[in-house]
Symmetry: C3
């Protein structure tokens, strides 16, 4: 954590080129392009903010290599980089708060079963955490306060379980998995049979398996399989308030944005993305590279890579045409009415002749 940096050093820090500005000028902080004040550095990540480069009060900006000089306010120092969004992370680390130190050990108020397997000098377990029987925890893992780890759970190395996250019995986490606060892994899947007018619970004895480098958002729920496993592939990133039902399989490197719902037994390929409030009904197959746009509802298996919109979800070109068409219905009704009138007149005319 530092309070200042010269433009020259800043350019070096981000691996860029000081394209415009005095090398010895001093930058004292960072901010977004619209909120930045004098002395601060900002960046142009999303091209939609290009006009703000003319009006920002920042003193310097990280920009792409192809930016035209006249697109930026005069007097605004410019540092050219390949990817301003990524490069800005170094700036954030420079000015930002220090990452909390890893403090190994078990808080005296944590309840840890005697047979739990981990190296107390290489694992951090916070206050009031619960570690039940048969649990194993890899080195470098941090379990924050109030977390519940059920019996026979296996947690890999260098994971972070934030405060009040939950992993129920027998579930398996790979390495470098992050669970945010309130995430619930391994509750029962939602399954019943109607027997004599009552919903009889179908036992859910499977597990959730979460592979390496997965991140799970706050209050996201991933249910255990009826049997076998609900499986989250390596590198998947899941936002807040997402529902992943029993027996779902996510391939590798999927992105599920907030409030997405994936119904039971559906299988997503690799690099599938679902935008906010998207939904996928049960027992479907979603191919690699598919992007389900915001609020779309997938009701059939999708085999072609590409973006899908609407309910039921359709390929984006088709779906957009339908949406655009919908806006023209009132006009269309008018035109049909006009046609009917004119045709009737014409019919009258022809009949008379």
């Amino acid at each position: 954590m530092s309070n200042s940096i010269t433009l020259q050093k800043l350019a070096e820090l981000v691996g860029g080129e000081l394209w415009r500005g005095e090398p010895d000028d001093v930058i004292t902080g960072l901010n977004s392009i619209t909120e930045a004040a004098q002395g601060e550095v900002t960046f142009l990540g999303n091209p939609r903010y290009l006009p703000a480069l003319k009006t920002t009060r920042a003193s310097a900006a990280l920009v792409k290599e192809d930016l035209a000089a006249q697109d930026a306010r005069e007097g605004l120092a410019l540092i050219r980089v390949k990817n301003p969004t990524v490069a800005f992370s170094s700036v954030i680390r420079w000015f930002g708060p220090p990452a909390p130190a890893f403090v190994p050990g078990v808080h005296p108020t944590a309840i840890v079963a005697p047979d739990a397997k981990f190296d107390p000098e290489k694992v951090s377990i916070g206050a009031h955490a619960i570690i039940e029987e048969g649990v194993t925890i890899g080195d470098g893992t941090v379990i924050h306060p109030g977390t519940f780890v059920g019996r026979s759970v296996r947690i890999g190395a260098n994971c972070t379980l934030h405060a009040n996250s939950i992993i129920n019995e027998r579930c398996v986490l790979g390495n470098r998995v992050i669970l945010h606060s309130g995430a619930v892994i391994g509750s029962d899947g939602f399954g019943y049979e109607l027997v004599k007018g009552r919903h009889q619970k179908i036992e859910q004895v499977g597990i959730v398996q979460i592979d390496d480098d997965v991140e799970v958002g706050s209050c996201t729920t991933i249910d255990r399989a009826r049997f076998g496993r609900t499986w989250i592939g390596e590198g998947c990133k899941i936002d807040n308030l997402v529902q992943v039902a029993h027996n779902v399989v996510l391939g590798k490197h999927c992105i599920l944005c907030a409030q997405t719902g994936i119904s039971g037994s559906s299988r997503l390929g690799n690099y599938v993305t679902t935008a906010g409030q998207a939904g996928v009904t049960g027992h479907l197959e979603i191919a690699d590279q598919i992007m389900v746009l915001a609020k779309a509802g997938v009701t059939k298996s999708l085999t072609e890579a590409g973006a899908y919109v609407g309910f039921p979800a359709r390929p984006i070109a088709e779906g957009r045409k339908i949406m655009a068409g919908a806006a023209r219905i009132p006009e269309l009704i008018e035109r049909v009415r006009e046609l009917e009138k004119k045709l009737a007149e014409l019919e009258g005319k022809v009949a008379k002749e």
Copy 2:
């Protein structure tokens, strides 16, 4: 928990008939039809997996009584049962992990008010659970670690409150109620009056009453009534991340799938089902046996049993016709344009004559 079973014993276990296969062949595990390996038994529950019966690597399958023999891979042993999905539960119990034993008693780190009423030899209260003043708990109930039970809450017999579930003050649970982790019962309803430009909180002093045999999913929220009660009828099953607002009344045996939202004061009849991400606006009446399909939004009271789709929700036949029609709008625009052109030509022709 067992490691193997003969086909003959398996058929007896599930109350079925060994229709094809050697009675003494040994089965060593179970799995889904697509994931099963040699030696494992599977089942055909959902007819959409019928083709997989030709390709599964399983050694045996539970199937319906009307299955045609040629629909299954040669060499696949077949056991006929009435309901393969239900029958498979016995198989799961045979091979599955043993249910955790009921261990009565109060964990020393639980905080239990002196006036809480329960039989400590018949109730299990986990680590760090909080039981406030005036609480009563029925026999056989298990309160898992980290759970919060507010003052004067009444909990019936044989309930299960999973880790970090929450019941706020004065709410009432019947018998055999299950709350999953992160469920929140009895937070304040969402009510304000705009007074001089500020939203003034309307006090919410009612309760939530949950009747017998209800199951509530992870991170589902059921708000207390403004006064009186928010009421969840007997046998209702509520999935994860569902919102039930203040003063809502659910009849008996309703099913609310994940991410459903029921707005304030709406009343659902018996056997109402809402699929994923469905919504019901406030102050409506939904009759018995109604099924609200995925993502549908109910904006008016519904009196006729049946399925409803779309936004605003309509009876399924009508709604599907509209959805199918929507897909034809681009074509319709073309046809109207063509009609206009032809009519104009014809008008010209007629005028000339």
Copy 3:
């Protein structure tokens, strides 16, 4: 908490006029208009319940000043008030459970960092709560059991943090803020860059700032900014299961109903309302006084006050016309087919002549 009140006293209590009924008649409780029994008082808040005023079993009702006497059941005592909904709050307080007393002090099982700054005689910290280093807490604040307050969090005066709510490090709460159970403030924003086929986490080092008089519902998630702040303006009321992404800014006195999602960096003005399951995509500006209706999805910045519906969200008049039009598509297809047929016939006729 009281068991009865005379009609005369009741009229005084609510600041209204006893318009019909015997001043000395005794009221023994309160209830909603449909659930009330003899001896109870109810109120007519929502005009849709007007017919119930004829059938209610209540003995008295608070009504608006312009109610026609014949709209109420004969024998039903009537008290006229300006705003029955607001006035009824006094009745609720009269009969309702007493508000729990403020009990200052720190529960012995709470884990409080030695450098946390607060007056233990003016703050209440419940069992198993965690207060990390550098936290400050204003007078009159109640932190319920199981709550997690991360390092360097600042909490104002007279706040209420319900059981198992979470505030992560460095976030800032104003005065009179209410967090309901399971709410998660300040988890990481959801940001990644795809680098060589893997989603690389973009560090999220900003904070969440929540201003005075904000209420946050159960299991609602408000993510910390990438840098700078996610900012919830004064007087905002946020319902359950709402997602507020990183760098979002809410103006003053916004209302976000349950299951709303606001994507990253969007900025809402003052008095913006989003109804249930509404969504706003990222990087948008929503002007003051805008109301986004249930399930609507805003995909473009909105500059005009008013109500918006549908996906993509449109001004209500336009959107409703489109929705109504959609219902007429099947009919429209019929009419176009008929037109085509008639036109072809006419063309034939004209050609022959």
